[in-house]
């Protein structure tokens, strides 16, 4: 396979993984927040990446532009009577039981929301034609008010895009950056389409500036190909990412999940639940041979209906703070000590008990081996903050620490139930893949609570995102609302409606250099019973309407526990995912262990508390473990950026990829 380097820029660290054939190199450095490209290019130089390597990038530039409200000055044009749809949203307030709310940020201010007279009906007829002269007048005003970017969202434009296109052409002629809803999201529900299109308009110019300047630095080093990670877990060219930056806004966790999925699949497990536990929050997701996706994402309350990974996030992580509430319950989070001052045991002035402190108090961390020994954890500090709380709750410090983990794990268990059981999947048929700084510490306890039989800890749980960037497929997604009754359409109707989407996918991938043997076109339909208003996406395996109906009834039965074979089925959206399949790597050349006994990798022993008892527990160094070594709990495995806790009752081995695979019993 061609050489490739994955560069993932996070809040604290910039991670790089370089792969060429069997060779793999890793580098981690501090991010440069003011200009992320600085650390990016520094990392490339430090790794000595050759100029011919493809550069695959995971960036939160678009995400941060939204979170920090630093996007482009954006205007919006809507059908007359509807310019407030953006602020009215779905008319619900963000919390049920609050008497006041902070004023909400709106990406397009009142004086930049415009209307044009035009109207298309639900059947796609033009009820009121658009007047080009009115368009010109409005666009003059858009420009006069200093807008750089323009979103255009007209009612039912997905049935008849002509009006939007006319506005788009004239706006581009005026030098505006243009986002048309019929291009970005040709699907019904005007608020969600408006929000998605507006956010694209808001972030794309920022993304374009960032990627353009980054490309200059890359070209000087000989790199001609720059790819960017999307929220869906698929790769996009930099050129497209500049126009459709909305597709990257929720990409933060996507590369990690992609990395976890590829690592586990190569190891032989493609039904996995990923568990990414960081300092303040935890992300979980599920793959059943393919990564589950959704189009129901949002940021700061603004919906984003482009494909993203179906990730569920809970506000509990290593830094979550424990306290006693006035009713006497032990609460953990959502307040977090963050990285500054951090948990009490960091010794930087943190004076609240956190999940990390609880892990330390129970012996699950090795104080002098934290972050590869660059930081020593202060057990006494953790003990001091625990004592007061323990007294208030009438518990011993040990019982409190165990309680903190129990409460935090209960939250995470619920998160996994949401993405598995509530979606119709039985977690007992899956492998748990923990990663992130704290994931491998909690993974096996969670697996036990959910009956998950196997846990796979990737070789490099701390750089899984950068690794995922080097492994992800190239993906384009297309959709269109049709709103048909399934029993009224023929196989021919479906085939000819899908044909343009399929053709577009094939062409775009050919343009990116994929030959037909590596292009996978995956058509799907969003279906529902007529009268419902949530759709299920069902992969299209046949054009025969009866076969499609059967597949839908089955999917509905599995997800919701019932089907209505006699009810009419509605085809809401057509979807096509075009995938450019990237070559998968061969196993690295790790030397085999001479025997299953991991004695050579043993670097210590300490007391660890499991199930209310202190047990003498060996400590192993991950870097010294070799394929073929076998481990049995209780054990700790330490490495630079993660500690794996193996409770009694679990045993495992190192596979040929260097992963740790544990099973119950």
């Amino acid at each position: 396979m061609p050489a490739i380097v994955g560069v993932d820029i996070g809040g604290t660290f910039t991670d790089l993984v370089y792969r060429a054939g069997e060779e793999m190199r890793i580098f981690k450095l501090l991010s440069t927040r003011s200009n992320p490209a600085v650390a990016f290019l520094k990392g490339l130089d430090a790794l000595g990446v050759p100029g011919e390597a493809i550069v695959a990038h995971g960036t939160t530039v678009a995400t941060n532009a939204v979170l920090e409200h630093r996007g482009a000055r954006t205007a919006l044009i809507t059908t007359a009577g509807f310019r407030d749809v953006l602020v009215l949203g779905r008319q619900n307030r963000p919390h049920l039981y609050r008497l006041s709310f902070p004023t909400r940020w709106v990406p397009v201010p009142d004086d930049l929301r415009f209307e044009v007279r035009e109207r298309v009906s639900a059947r796609g007829e033009v009820l009121l034609p658009l007047d080009p002269e009115e368009v010109d007048r409005v666009l003059d005003e858009v420009v006069a008010r200093g807008a750089e970017s323009l979103a255009v969202v007209l009612l039912f434009s997905f049935l008849r895009p002509e009006h939007e296109r006319l506005i788009g052409e004239r706006a581009r002629a005026r030098g505006l950056f243009v986002s048309l809803s019929s291009h970005i999201l040709p699907e019904y529900r005007e608020f969600e389409r408006t929000s998605t299109t507006v956010l694209n308009a808001y972030v794309s110019p920022i993304m374009a500036r960032y990627l353009t300047s980054l490309q200059e630095g890359l070209i000087r080093r000989g790199h001609t190909t720059l790819w960017v990670m999307q929220s869906s877990g698929g790769i996009l060219t930099a050129r497209r990412a500049m126009d459709e930056a909305v597709r990257t806004i929720l990409s933060g966790p996507a590369a990690g999940v992609t990395g976890a999925f590829h690592v586990a699949s190569l190891a032989g497990y493609d039904h996995i639940i990923t568990f990414d536990m960081g300092g303040t929050s935890t992300d979980v997701s599920l793959a059943d041979g393919r990564i589950r996706r959704t189009t129901e994402g949002s940021i700061e309350g603004w919906p984003l209906r482009v494909p993203m990974m179906d990730i569920h996030t809970v506000g509990a992580g290593g830094g979550s703070i424990a306290y006693r509430d006035p009713g006497g319950a032990l609460r953990v989070g959502p307040e977090s000590a963050g990285s500054e001052p951090g948990p009490a045991c960091y010794g930087r002035g943190g004076n609240h008990l956190t999940v990390t402190d609880a892990n330390l108090l129970l012996g699950r961390l090795v104080p002098e081996r934290f972050l590869g020994g660059r930081m020593t954890l202060d057990v006494d500090a953790a003990h001091r903050v625990a004592e007061g709380l323990a007294r208030a709750l009438g518990l011993t410090v040990e019982a409190l620490a165990e309680g903190v983990l129990q409460v935090a794990n209960a939250r995470m268990e619920q998160a996994i139930r949401v993405i598995s059981i509530e979606r119709g999947f039985d977690p007992r048929r899956f492998t748990l893949v923990p990663f992130g700084g704290a994931g491998p510490m909690h993974g096996m306890a969670l697996a036990e609570a959910l009956g998950i039989p196997r846990v796979l800890v990737p070789r490099y749980p701390g750089v899984l995102s950068a690794l995922g960037l080097t492994l992800a497929d190239f993906v384009r997604d297309y959709s269109r609302t049709v709103m048909w009754l399934l029993h009224r359409v023929t196989a021919r109707d479906l085939e000819s409606a899908l044909a343009p989407l399929l053709a577009r996918g094939r062409e775009e991938l050919r343009d990116e250099g994929f030959d037909d043997g590596r292009i996978r076109l995956e058509p799907a339909l969003d279906l529902r019973y007529q009268g419902q208003s949530f759709e299920l996406t069902v992969p299209l395996t046949t054009f025969d309407p009866e076969g499609i109906a059967r597949a839908f009834h089955e999917a509905h039965e599995r997800r919701y526990g019932y089907a209505r074979p006699d009810a009419a089925v509605e085809v809401v959206n057509l979807r096509v995912t075009a995938r450019g399949v990237r070559p998968k790597p061969s196993p690295p050349a790790y030397p085999e262990a001479p025997s299953p006994d991991p004695g050579d990798a043993r670097v210590g022993q300490q007391r660890v508390r499991f199930g209310g008892e202190w047990l003498a527990t060996p400590v192993y160094d991950r870097d010294l473990l070799r394929p073929g070594h076998r481990l049995r709990g209780p054990a700790l495995v330490v490495q630079e950026d993660a500690t794996t806790v193996v409770p009694p009752g679990w045993q495992g081995w190192v596979d040929r990829w260097g992963n740790l695979v544990f099973e119950r019993g």
């Binding site: 779905r90 008319q91 039981y97 008497l99 006041s100 009713g327």
Partner: protein
């Protein structure tokens, strides 16, 4: 009591209710249930006391416990596999469209508790499509269902299903919604059994009781922080739609130490039109205010919350109606005013916390008739957002649902696909929020064109009495309902007698009439009240 297990069981039991809600919300048919999330699910202990409820819609807060009590009063023994359904407002319900299901949960022959779900069904018969009519007595409002078994010993009772669907204008939709609700009940049963398996039946039932004590402690802690005293407030309902106007709701809140009394003595007697609130609705409104003051979403909504509070409701009054008073709008309109008066009283005790009045109505609009595209009858029901009251902390939000509801709108594009209607305007009503140091939120203008002749019913409030401001803040603007006739439409009763405003006819707050194809209904919703003197506003 173990503080760790308390917290773990709290999240586990709340998750049971939430998982039921996720099932119901996603599988239901009525837009009311799916898009507008007009439903609730809850878990009860073996004595029928509520342990946890998923937060979906506040107006169901106090009503669910009465449903379980009604089911238990009717059937002294519910067997495994039984599910009871009911909607009788005078026997466990709130208004007729809200159908509640209650099922016992057993494990190895031992009763663990009950699960219940309540959902607003789009049509249960009665005078007008949508079953939110302007009626004089309960019988006109739709099918009354006392507690009956819709499932007995695991067998769905076809006769009960037939009876309900035959009484609805949209039987297919009813069937789908009932199936979704039964599915939610089954999920709840299974999850509660799993918890008993995992933690032991004794532990589960013990902690169900502890969680009520816990919520009680949290509320006592809250009440302790409210200054002792007696606080009185009065506000008015506009009218009942049958000639009675300016109907007072009076509340006296007495706070002493950790206890609170909420006394509605002095409130007007029940009226002819359906703005009467049954007891459960009034309890929900009081319950809602307490929940808001707690400012902690992690406190489970359960029976413990009510223990420190005594609610005094004069029987036969607007806030505790006697059978067979009509009640359709008590749930959606009067409940809002009850919140307004309780907050108005508490504003004297907690000036920094309590906001000015919000729009105080849900602006219920129902349009029904025959869809010319299919020949089938349709019933479209929506509630429309308005302005939120300002507080010491912030301006009020604009164009949101307030207090007792938080249902979603139906997107214009979804509405036009599904019904012979066209949305012609959906906008903020600028300047309608009351002025103040903090400004009230703006109301909304929503205009819908009829593409076929249809029955239109409006149940709205705050058309005569504006949402109050506080501490020198101005009231929010009153709402307005307009009818813009079709070109060359010949007007009939009652439209012909109503006042005009240019091309438009000004409709009363509560009205039912035949609208013509090509005419438009414009609902202009109230703004929220302002807080503090306008001249103190930071610019």
């Amino acid at each position: 009591m173990d503080p760790v297990l308390l917290e773990v069981m709290k999240s586990m039991l709340t998750a049971v209710a939430e998982e039921m809600g996720a099932t119901l919300g996603r599988t239901a048919y009525s837009p009311n249930i799916k898009e507008r999330r007009d439903y609730s699910c809850a878990v009860f202990d073996a004595r029928g006391e509520m342990v946890a409820q998923a937060a979906h819609i506040p107006v169901h807060l106090g009503a669910m416990p009465l449903s379980v009590q009604a089911a238990l009063a009717r059937f002294d023994h519910l067997e495994e596999g039984d599910i009871v359904v009911l909607n009788d407002p005078y026997f466990g319900g709130s208004h007729l469209p809200d159908l509640t299901m209650v099922a016992p949960v057993y494990l190895e022959g031992r009763l663990l508790g009950y699960v219940a779900s309540r959902a607003h069904h789009a049509d249960v018969g009665g005078m007008v499509p949508g079953s939110m009519p302007l009626a004089r007595e309960l019988y006109q409002e739709g099918l009354i269902i006392p507690p009956v078994k819709i499932q007995a010993q695991r067998e769905v009772q076809q006769a009960v299903l037939d009876l309900i669907t035959r009484n609805s204008r949209t039987p297919g939709e009813r069937l789908g919604d009932l199936a979704a609700q039964i599915a939610a009940q089954r999920i709840g049963i299974r999850r509660l059994q799993e918890l008993a398996h995992r933690y032991g039946t004794d532990t589960l039932t013990t902690y169900m009781a502890y969680l009520q004590d816990y919520a009680e402690r949290m509320v006592r802690d809250l009440i302790r922080r409210i200054p002792d005293g007696t606080y009185t407030f009065v506000d008015y309902m506009d009218d009942d739609g049958f000639g009675t106007t300016d109907i007072p709701i009076v509340v006296t809140v007495r706070v002493q130490g950790e206890a609170m009394e909420v006394d509605f003595t002095g409130t007007a007697p029940q009226v002819t039109g359906g703005i009467n609130a049954v007891r459960s609705v009034t309890l929900s409104a009081v319950f809602y205010v307490l929940r808001c003051l707690l400012e902690d979403d992690a406190v489970p909504t359960n029976a413990g919350i009510f223990r420190p509070v005594r609610v005094v409701l004069p029987e036969g009054s607007l806030v505790h109606a006697r059978f067979p008073a009509a009640v359709a709008a008590g749930n959606v309109e009067t409940s809002q005013r009850i919140v307004d008066v309780v907050l108005g009283a508490l504003a004297q005790a907690l000036p920094e916390v309590v906001p000015a009045a919000s729009q105080g109505t849900m602006n219920n609009l129902t349009i029904g008739g025959v869809d010319p595209r299919t020949g089938a009858s349709f019933a479209y029901y929506e509630t429309i957002a308005g302005g939120m009251g300002a507080s010491a902390r912030a301006d009020g939000l604009s164009g949101v649902h307030v207090h007792m509801t938080n249902t979603l709108n139906t997107p214009a594009e979804a509405l036009e696909y599904a019904y012979p209607l066209r949305v012609t305007r959906y906008a903020l009503r600028r300047g309608s929020g009351g002025a103040g140091r903090h400004q009230g939120g703006d109301g909304v203008v929503r205009e819908v064109e009829l593409l076929t002749d249809a029955t239109v019913t409006l149940l709205t409030e705050r058309r005569r009495h504006a949402p109050y401001g506080l501490h020198g803040g101005a009231p929010g603007a009153k709402g307005e309902n307009l009818y813009i006739p079709a070109p060359e439409e010949t007007l009939a009763e009652p439209l012909i007698t109503l006042p005009r405003q240019g091309e438009a006819i000004v409709l009363p707050g509560k009205v039912s009439f035949q609208g013509r194809r090509g005419a438009r209904i414009r609902v202009v919703t109230p703004g929220g009240g302002g807080w503090g003197k306008p001249r103190e506003r930071d610019v």
